[in-house]
Every structure is written in C-alpha cells, then in structure tokens.
Symmetry: C2
Subunit: 208 residues, 2 copies
DNA sequence: ACCTGAACACCGTTCAAGT
DNA sequence: ACCTGAACACCGTTCAAGT
C-alpha cells in the first residue's frame, strides 16, 4: 500500500485511459483521485486544473497524429493513401479527436498531412493557388468525413430515415436506389469513392 | 410584476435564445429560472429536466432545417444550390447544430435535402446504387465541411501553421502555393469549388 | 517539494407541501 | 394543474496547514 510519489505522467496516463474509454464527461477530479489513491488536491498540484489536464491530453493526441507516409504509384493513389491513413488514425481515438475538434486544433493536427498533400499535388502537376485549393479541399473532406461518420455511429436508431425514403415519389421510380439508400452505408467504400471522385475532379478541372 | 402562468413554450423560447447566443453550457436550470422569474422547480414541471429541454430545442432545429428548394438550370447547378442553402442554414445556428450533431441526429435533419438530391441525380441520369452513393457522398461532404469550418472559426490563433509551411521544402519550390496556404481560407469559394469538383467527379466516373 | 482535509460556491434533481 | 423552498448528492477549486 505504500505509494511511490505521484507524478504528472501518472496523472496524465490515468486520465488519458479514462477519457479514451468513457469520454471526457467520465473524468471527474474526485474520481481520478480515487483511482490514483490520492487526495483530489494532489492532482491540482501536478496538472493545475481539470481544463489544463484535458489540454495536455489533447496536445499529446495532436503529436501522435503527426506521422504520415504516403503509399502508392500515382499521385492520386498516394493522396488516397494519405486520406485513408488519416481516417484510420482519427477513428482510433474518437473521444480525444472530438476534444481536439472542440478546442479548434484540428487544423494544427493536420499540418503534417497537409505538407504530404502539397508534395503529391506537385507530383500531379498542380502548382500555386490551384494546388493550395486542392490540398485544402481534400483536407476539409477527410476531416469532415470522419466527423460525420463518428456522428452516424453514435446516432440513436435512425428512426424515420429508411421508410420515408422508401415511400418518396422519386424512390419509387428507382427501386434499386431506394434499396441502396435503405441499406446501411458502407463507410469504407463511400470514403474511398468520395475521395477518388474529389481528387479526380480536382486534377481534371476545378476552376480558379 | 404579476406574471402570467409559465408555459412550456415560454421556457423553450428563453432556453433557446440562451443557447443560441452563448451555447448549451450557459444554460443552467437556476439561471433560466432567474431569467423567467420563477422557481427552478417550475421548469421541471414543464419540461421534465435539463436533458429533455435540450432535446426539445434540438428537435425544433431539425424541423426548421427541413425546407429545401433547389435552384438553377442544370442538375449540377441545382445540387450546388442545395449544398449552398444547407451550408447557410447550418451556419446560422452553430450551437444548436453542434447539439444536433452530438445527439447523432444530423442524418435525420438531412433527410429532406437527401430527397432533393436524389431527384437531381435522376435528372442527371444517374440511377440505382450509383445515384445513392453520389447522394451520400455529397451529403457527407456538405455536413463535414460545415463541421470543419465551424471548427476553424472557433480555433485559437493557428499558431505554427503558416510559418511552418513557409519553410517547408516543398513550399519553397512553389512560392505562390506557399503564399496561398499562408493566406486565410476563402471558405465560400473553397466550399463552392469543392462541391463542384466532387459533383463533377461523381457525374463523370466514380466507380461502382 | 509535495500532500492533505475542510470549506466554498456552484451544479441538477427530488420531494413533500402548498394553492 | 401548477408552483414553491428545502434538501440531497454531486461538481471544480481554493487555501491554510501539514510533512
């Protein structure tokens, strides 16, 4: 029962695992203290307060997301691989990613990926403002996609959605479309195809 | 100072304006009671509890987002107009939209728009699973975009982002790109171009 | 340098009691 | 049917006091 002196690292680790598993709402200072076997106030000595504790966890997450290695033969394929990797990494830390989002740090988290994308745009022959716009379009799409699919996964039973579409006039003219929309989304495939379509659209035309 | 008997409507209105202006965290039952000039417990009689009060506000938001009227000559133009309208409506209610998102109801909020998009895909000659996939790709993109741009707007000063890219090796080979990425995003234009590129990509090729 | 318990000012919610 | 105050069980945080 002798307890080696509490460290900041220890506090962060315990808080991190708590947040990863049950989300930030599950992190109470009193609960964390109980888990660590110390007084609540000790935690304050090490990490300041609850908000800066969460900030530290977020900072750590941003750093972890920093490594990107594009794979594939063509620039388009490598862009898709960057998108895919990012999506996987983001999905592995849903609560922490949500917190990064809440703190408005998604951008910073994305910087290394942005640089990788710049490189691929150059390889694809895009330059200047046009390339910059394409990089941002992809970045927005990937981050947005992950935010949306997280949302869908946490959604309570999508009550009216399916039947309503089954009965929509447009759908009745096209039963196979109605069937497709009533079926659950294949998120991996939708992601792959969306990215592919966007990249194709960007590399082909686009506008200035 | 005589107070006409409190109504559920009155509670929702006061709570709604509070949330619209300062976000859900600013809504405390005690504070709301003070604003309404009643006892805290009266509110409970009318709306159950805090959570169902917020649920009611969210429900109302979902209903308000239900009207969509596509404009434009070509299907592609009408799709873009739907996207644009949705974005505007979503941006007008940031806090409430975030709450819809948190409750996983974004999908349901989007159903009318989805039906409009189905109609346009048909007009563009897409059918069946292919059309369904295109509708979803656009839906994901618009919702995702709004989520991302809200995030950016609330972001604290994007500390290292600009300079780092200025110094990146890739950027130095392409100063006009570096300049473009260092400049603030023109979110309206990026949105318009992203949607246009995605729609073009979807209508052209796409994959099965 | 690190830890502690007591106390403060907040929460949301319940409940018995009023009219 | 509607409203009330008191009370409960929680919060995060501060602070003076310990070692």
């Amino acid at each position: 029962m002798t307890r080696t002196s509490l460290t900041r690292e220890e506090v962060l680790a315990a808080a991190g695992s708590l947040v990863r598993q049950h989300g930030p709402a599950a992190l109470t200072m009193r609960g964390l203290a109980a888990e660590l076997g110390t007084a609540v106030t000790s935690i304050y000595w090490h990490v300041g307060n609850r908000e800066s504790l969460l900030d530290a966890l977020v900072e750590r997450t941003v750093e972890e997301l920093g490594e990107i290695r594009p794979r594939g033969r063509t620039p388009a394929a490598r862009v898709v691989s960057v998108a895919r990797t990012l999506r996987r990494e983001l999905r592995a830390r849903p609560h922490l990613i949500a917190m990064v989002h809440e703190r408005g740090l998604t951008e910073r988290m994305f910087l290394p990926a942005q640089e990788a994308l710049v490189h691929e745009m150059h390889a694809a022959g895009l330059r200047g403002a046009r390339a910059a716009q394409a990089v941002r379009a992809i970045q927005f799409q990937v981050v947005g996609y992950v935010l949306v699919e997280r949302n869908r996964e946490r959604a309570p039973v999508q009550r009216p959605a399916e039947e309503e579409l089954w009965h929509a006039a447009a759908a009745e003219q096209d039963p196979s479309l109605a069937r497709a929309l009533a079926a659950p989304v294949d998120q991996d495939r939708l992601f792959a195809e969306s990215v592919r379509a966007l990249v194709a659209g960007l590399l082909a035309g686009g506008g200035t």
